[in-house]
Amino acid sequence: AQSVSQHNHHVILSEAASLELGCNYSYGGTVNLFWYVQYPGQHLQLLLKYFSGDPLVKGIKGFEAEFIKSKFSFNLRKPSVQWSDTAEYFCAVKASGAGSYQLTFGKGTKLSVIP
């Protein structure tokens, strides 16, 4: 079974600072990888996803993530955060291939951006 580890429970940044949130997964096979965001009072929304190809994927709102297979990592980055990025961020993994339907989520990282 797959598992996901998010290194930071709570990150506090000032506006315009750069962001990197760590995500490592444990699974021996091919995976699909996702980052979701949950803004205060809102539902989970997909930020970006990786299935195959270019390991650097770009998502909405200026976010990007890099898949490093050798490190089993899929870290989320943003060059300059805004107050509106305050939210909880979840990394998720799905085993690739037919017969696998579930997403396995990490515990989440809460991001607080100070104006």
Binding site: H43, Y101, Q102, L103, F105
Partner: protein, 113 residues
């Protein structure tokens, strides 16, 4: 265009009671998945249904059951509620069986007292 709708938004139940949570997927979506999100944790997979058939089940006891109706809406049922069942229950819909195009609802907050 309506998103994924879940009802009720909040509810409070007593230990030992039964609860039914409801989910209406986005129009045209044939797959519904249920997740449990305990405070401070990420969502945990409970069930997935596609075309009214169960496609997957997470590591949850038999007290948890679900079904999908001909209109693709879904119910999640939990019997013999425990305090530990207190959580946000999320429904996600997608057009196909895979989670590639998941859209999540806002969830039902269940409190068991």
């Amino acid at each position: 265009d309506a998103g994924v709708t879940q009802s009720p938004t909040h509810l409070i139940k007593t230990r030992g009671q039964h609860v039914t949570l409801r989910c209406s997927p986005i129009s045209g979506h044939k797959s519904v998945s249920w997740y449990q999100q305990v405070l401070g944790q990420g969502p945990q997979f409970i069930f997935q249904y596609y075309e009214k058939e169960e496609r997957g089940r997470g590591n949850f006891p038999d007290r948890f059951s679900a079904r999908q109706f001909p209109n693709y809406s879904s119910e999640l049922n939990v019997n013999a509620l425990l305090l530990g069942d207190s959580a946000l229950y999320l429904c996600a819909s997608s057009a196909s069986g895979g989670p590639y195009g998941y859209t999540f609802g806002s969830g039902t907050r269940l409190t068991v007292v």
